[in-house]
Symmetry: C2
Subunit: 399 residues, 2 copies
């Protein structure tokens, strides 16, 4: 009997038939007494199609214009869903990002939500309407259209839920969160619930189910997020503040093959150069993940770090300001292998167990980075599946 914010991904609204099915679902839920706010992504491959159009014009299309272009995908799906609900005799209204005054930073393509005006939305709910919201988009202080980047519609949904104090349900094409990618580990376990922090680590590490920013947001406002299939009755996973007295040290494993390691050799260990370089990269919102640095020899150090492969070009433009071509080498044979678990906070020796396991099984660890609840190793691509299987068995997170 509360307010529910739901989000449906692109594959859930890829055809008119599917949109009509979602409309039925929403009406049923509404009939059960819930007030419904529904965020939708663009239909099927619409966003990719629009990006392809832009790329016919330019290999790096103007970002302001690209955002205006891409925002149309969600306007199309949201207006069609509202139409479908009205056609079935129920009240509905669709809103674009600017109509809900979803204010963002002006970082086109990767904008962050600053605030939104919930009044119009609440008014529509009061009038008994099922409110449909075009996900993924907002406006900056100039009134220019922005998009929120990957997972943007999830972020829209969570932001709305936080702002109006609703629960949040993300419907997607996976039936929940698993202890490891089921395509990579046959016996992966589906989790009933997972802690925000764990999900956050998994999300930032290649578990594509949800983008980390929406989990951060939900965590900040303590809004539980349900993740599950948009069809059928298979129970999904709740992302929430689940504090168990006892838990396994590791909840899940995530691996990612999307990164490339860059090594800069013989860099003057002058701290300014290094910090300036990393600052410049950070300013472009390029996500550097693993960093390692050798000890200075004759005031020279080697620095290695990983970045997403698709940000390599942008990153190189910055690096070349500081470093000569001859000093740069790349390693593409990188799988980022991560284990995540709130339990690590209270269980020591997890890293040692993993390193021993890898060593015993001839898995080379190229780089390591850790947080309080995660350990990430860069390993060879060819070792990925072996490593998942070994670690899942060692920590009892597979069937």
């Amino acid at each position: 009997m509360g307010i529910v914010v739901q989000k449906y991904g692109g594959s859930s609204v890829s055809t008119i038939e599917k949109i009509q099915e979602i409309a039925e679902r929403l009406i049923k839920r509404k009939e059960n007494g819930d007030s419904m706010v529904v965020v939708v992504s663009a239909m099927g491959d619409t966003t990719d199609d629009l990006i392809n159009l832009a790329h016919e014009i330019s290999s790096s299309p103007d970002k302001r214009e690209l955002d205006a272009l891409l925002s149309t995908g969600e306007i199309i799906s949201s207006s069609l869903l509202a139409m479908a609900i009205k056609e079935k005799g129920y009240e509905s209204v669709s809103y674009t990002g600017y109509q809900l005054k979803i204010q963002t930073t002006d970082n086109h393509g990767k904008a962050l939500i600053k605030d939104l005006d919930e009044n119009r939305l609440k008014e529509s709910l009061k009038e008994g309407k099922i409110v449909i919201v075009a996900g993924f988009q907002g406006i900056d202080s100039e009134g220019d259209i922005t998009t929120l980047g990957r997972g943007g519609s999830d972020t829209t949904a969570v932001a709305l839920a936080c702002k109006i104090g609703a629960s949040c349900e993300i419907y997607t094409d996976v039936d929940g969160i698993y202890s490891a990618d089921p395509r990579k580990l046959k016996g992966a376990l589906k989790l009933d619930s997972i802690h925000y922090e764990e999900m956050l680590e998994l999300a930032s590490l290649g578990a594509q189910v949800m983008h980390s920013r929406s989990i951060e947001l939900a965590s900040k406002y303590d809004i539980p997020i349900y993740v599950g299939l948009s069809t059928g009755d298979i129970r999904g996973t709740l992302i929430m503040n689940n504090m168990y007295m006892e838990s396994k040290p590791i909840t899940g494993i995530a691996t990612s093959n999307e990164d490339i390691a860059i090594t800069l050799k013989d860099i003057n260990s002058n701290v300014n150069i290094i910090s300036n370089l990393f600052n410049s990269i950070a300013e472009e919102k390029i996500n550097i993940d693993m960093i390692s640095q050798t000890s200075p020899v004759d005031d020279k150090v080697n620095i290695s770090f990983t970045i997403p492969k698709d940000e390599l070009e942008e990153c190189m433009e910055i690096i070349k300001v500081y470093v000569n071509d001859t000093q740069i080498t790349f390693d593409e044979d990188i799988t980022k292998f991560s284990v995540v678990g709130i339990g690590m906070k209270t269980t020591s020796g997890v890293a040692a167990r993993i390193f021993k396991l890898f060593s015993d099984n001839d898995i080379e660890v190229k780089m390591v980075t850790t947080s309080e609840i995660r350990i990430t190793c860069a390993i060879k691509r060819s070792d990925e599946l072996k490593a998942i299987k070994l670690v899942a068995k060692e920590f009892d997170i597979s069937k």
Copy 2:
């Protein structure tokens, strides 16, 4: 060296290649010293494709949602055009209807422009940018997206030109205004210029080149409109306040097969019923054109009128409130044949000449309506081409 507002129709921007050609044109013009504002329609068949999507959901889709849906077509083409210009190294920016605060009535699908805020546009021009505007759209007082209906992008262009005191150029797939439809009269003459009032009559009568509302607007502000091809150097037609001391009585002929005649029999000649009926129809913005009424017999009259065929369903809903089914008959065998000419103001006897010509050639005139500068007859479809040829010859407006 002034400000020019140009408008490109859907066929001029139907592919990325064509968009790039337009970008080249605009840059050349800009290089010549003009400040450019460019209104674009949706690419090719985009609007029809979107309408078809909506019709998969409903035979009469919710109008508010349909407008939100359709508005995306012009956002796509305008952002792509701005991208293409920037890719060629020139400054450009695209604006949606709401970003230029194009305020309209809330009449979804047929909204009228009330006002627009030219400040942002002027600022961008000052910064040397080629400004691209998504045509066909605005927002109502609630901030809901509206569309302007047929010829909407022309209206956007003319409204912008009026507001900023620019000249206006409409680029389309016809090379100018002709004395008659060249597909229907081989020797039709292309006009160098045509008076607003004449064009207004022709437009409202089936000459599809421009919608009447944009001509009205241009006439009100005395902004000349150039109409021509978007490619090549063929000279088009200027729609303007061309006052010649002497002119032919007739400038052009227009015919339309889009109408249906409705006859209501034995209506009580009580004026209230009739005026209420026509008021109700007008409130729905259905364009009644020709009206004729018989003299009362026993307080009963027959009323005939024509409406656009595609508004028949909507119109019938209203008529049935006032009249029984048995009293209604339809005539679909209707061609609206019109002659238009400012010269008719000073030349009398034009109607008489046409009626004699038709009578001598066995062309039945079913209904007649006239204005100061036009005569329209409803004739049989099969007489259409014969009538055009005869009248063009009689009044010397063909080769």
